[in-house]
């Protein structure tokens, strides 16, 4: 559990948050530029002197009530920023050793259990770069070295400030799989600042929405993405993520079935083995609804749903749909968002509680 109660006046906004972040998985701090994401991250690291309290589990890093402020270099954290900030006078190997040599405990003993330096180097695929100088690396390579350098200190918390923002789409695509590997391989909590929704949808488990220095909403990603009252739902990219498992492959049609509590979806065939955890993203604009189960439709994924809420704005209506037939309550509800025209909503006379069929035209498998 990461506790952060912080207050820091800034030009244009005052950071004022009281957060309990989960002690595992990736928590994304998301919001427009100038909302205080980076300031919050820096305050967690002790790089900014905000007022309040920061604790990681039972380790208290800052507590103004007890006049305690641990300077950054004493906090067992890793910090990766957009510009990588490698030491230009040192080789890649010496960059990796810089932090590692300064921690008393060996990498193997903590969060990166079983990894060690070789494991970290492997994980990020930088073995061939060890004798190079930072100036000779590409942007993507530099960023991977920066991540490895942070991990080599066996941090108990990894803070990442838009690590992909300086990279073009191709470099981004090069790094994302490494971040996903990191997420799977290490039981290390990561706080990840970004303003890119696709990174959030792909990587985050938890989401903190910041607006003008304050927390607008915080919680599990799937829940927050499915909330029509949040600004996320008004984006063109609005949509939900569904945590699912690979169920079966249909090689003859090149399809894979992924199952979750409350239903299943057919997606384009993936390399993942049956039983593997995957994440499906369904955009609100790719979902339509019908009162009867559509007959003879080309849409592969037709799912029984219950309409929970309906919001209209201008010519569009945003529906929040709970997957599963009416009455079939499940422990972990799964929702879809559907964006349809207001005219359609009126023609169908949609009311909360209606049992409907959702037709899903597009599913993106994230991992």
């Amino acid at each position: 559990m990461i506790e952060a109660r912080l207050r820091l006046p800034r030009r244009g906004f005052t950071l004022d948050v009281d957060l309990q972040l989960p002690g595992q998985g990736i928590t994304a701090l998301f919001g427009p530029s100038g909302c205080g994401k980076t300031t919050l991250l820096r305050a967690l690291a002790g790089l900014e002197r905000a007022a309040g309290r920061v604790a990681l589990g039972d380790a208290v890093w800052q507590d103004d009530a007890r006049h305690r402020f641990m300077p950054t270099h004493e906090r067992p954290l890793g910090y990766v920023i957009q510009e990588a900030a490698l030491f230009p006078h040192l080789s890649v190997r010496a960059n990796l050793d810089y932090g590692r040599r300064r921690v008393a405990t060996d990498v193997g003993s903590t969060a990166a259990a079983g990894f060690g330096l070789d494991g970290v180097v492997d994980l990020l695929g930088i073995g061939a770069l060890m004798d190079r100088r930072p100036a000779t690396l590409s942007g993507g390579e530099r960023q991977r070295v920066a991540i490895a350098r942070a991990l080599a200190t066996a941090p108990r918390l990894l803070l990442m400030d838009e690590p992909l923002a300086a990279l073009d789409a191709a470099r981004k695509a090069e790094i994302l799989p490494y971040l996903e590997r990191l997420h799977r391989a290490l039981a290390l909590p990561i706080v990840y600042v970004t303003h890119a929704m696709d990174e959030v949808a792909r990587l985050a488990d938890h989401l903190v929405l910041l607006e003008a220095g304050a927390v607008r909403a915080a919680g599990p990603l799937a829940e927050l993405l499915a909330r029509p009252d949040l600004p996320l739902a008004r984006q063109d990219e609005a949509g939900v993520v569904i945590n699912a498992r690979v169920d079966q492959h249909d090689a003859s049609y090149g399809l894979t079935r992924v199952a979750f509590d409350g239903g299943a979806l057919w997606v384009g065939q993936t390399g993942a083995a049956p039983g593997d955890a995957v994440r499906a993203r369904v955009l609100a604009r790719d979902v339509s609804v019908a009162r009867q189960r559509p007959q003879e439709t080309s849409v592969l994924n037709v799912l029984p749903v219950v309409l929970e809420t309906l919001q209209t704005e201008g010519g569009t209506a945003l529906l929040r749909l709970r997957l599963g037939a009416a009455g079939a309550g499940s422990a972990t509800p799964v929702w879809l968002l559907a964006r349809i025209t207001r005219r359609s909503a009126d023609l169908l006379a949609l009311q909360p509680g209606d049992a409907l069929y959702a037709q899903v035209k597009g599913v993106a498998l994230m991992r």
Binding site: A45, L47, P71, T72, H73, E74, L77, G78, Y79, I81, E83, A85, L86, F87, P88, H89, Y98, G99, R102, V103, D131, R132, R133, A135, T136, R149, A150, T153
Partner: protein
């Protein structure tokens, strides 16, 4: 080279070497502070350091003489310490050189420190390096070109100084008679051959200094080609 000339050259090298050492010891922390501080005292201190750049050497020499003289505060202090008076001694020359050459050491160092991005030092902090550790493991190596420039300029400027030396040190062989003063004296005495030897030596020295500087501060070559 006759014995007298040799004494002059050795004394000059000693003066410049010792002054450069002291200049680096005092100037490096000062430059680091000037580069990183947001204190309102910064422009005042920066101006004080830069004064020798704009003041005639005779003005500096005059006031140093007053300060270090028997009635001056520095003079009283050195006498109280039992060190005697500084004017017309080698120690006095060292003190004067340090004051006079300070901007030539502090300014290149300050520029080098200012060129280090804050985020690089912060990265070191997130990698468990404390403030002093960050200074020695990141700031100083990254400021290497500035350090070379500062040392060379500090040394060369001390060697070339004349006005302050004449006022503080006078012309005592083996104690304060350095190159620039010796040349002046040779010329006064119409010993043009002797003046030539020393002056030409200075020209060669200056040239060597500048070439060293330019070589040392070449941008580092891209070592991709040598990477395995």
């Amino acid at each position: 080279m006759d014995a007298a000339t040799w004494t002059v050259v050795r004394l000059t090298a000693q003066l410049a070497g010792l002054s450069t050492l002291l200049l680096l010891l005092l100037g490096t922390p000062l430059a680091w502070w000037l580069a990183r501080t947001r204190s309102p005292a910064k422009p005042v201190l920066a101006s004080l350091v830069a004064m020798p750049l704009v003041l005639p050497p005779s003005v500096i020499g005059f006031y140093l003489l007053l300060l270090m003289g028997p009635q001056g505060p520095v003079g009283q202090f050195t006498q109280w310490l039992g060190l005697g008076r500084l004017p017309f001694t080698f120690s006095g020359l060292v003190v004067a050189s340090v004051v006079y050459s300070m901007p030539f050491v502090v300014q290149p160092l300050q520029q080098a420190f200012e060129a280090i991005p804050e985020r690089t030092l912060e990265a070191a902090a997130t990698l468990r390096a404390g403030p002093l550790d960050r200074f020695f493991s990141v700031a100083l190596p990254l400021a290497r070109p500035g350090l070379v420039t500062a040392s060379v300029l500090g040394f060369a400027h001390t060697v070339g100084e004349f006005g302050v030396v004449l006022m503080i040190g006078g012309n005592i062989p083996g104690q304060t008679r350095v190159l620039s003063v010796a040349i002046f004296e040779h010329v006064e005495a119409a010993e043009f051959d002797a003046a030539h030897r020393l002056a030409a030596g200075m020209v060669v020295f200056a040239l060597l200094v500048l070439v060293t500087l330019y070589v040392a501060n070449r941008p580092p070559r891209d070592d991709r080609a040598t990477a395995p």
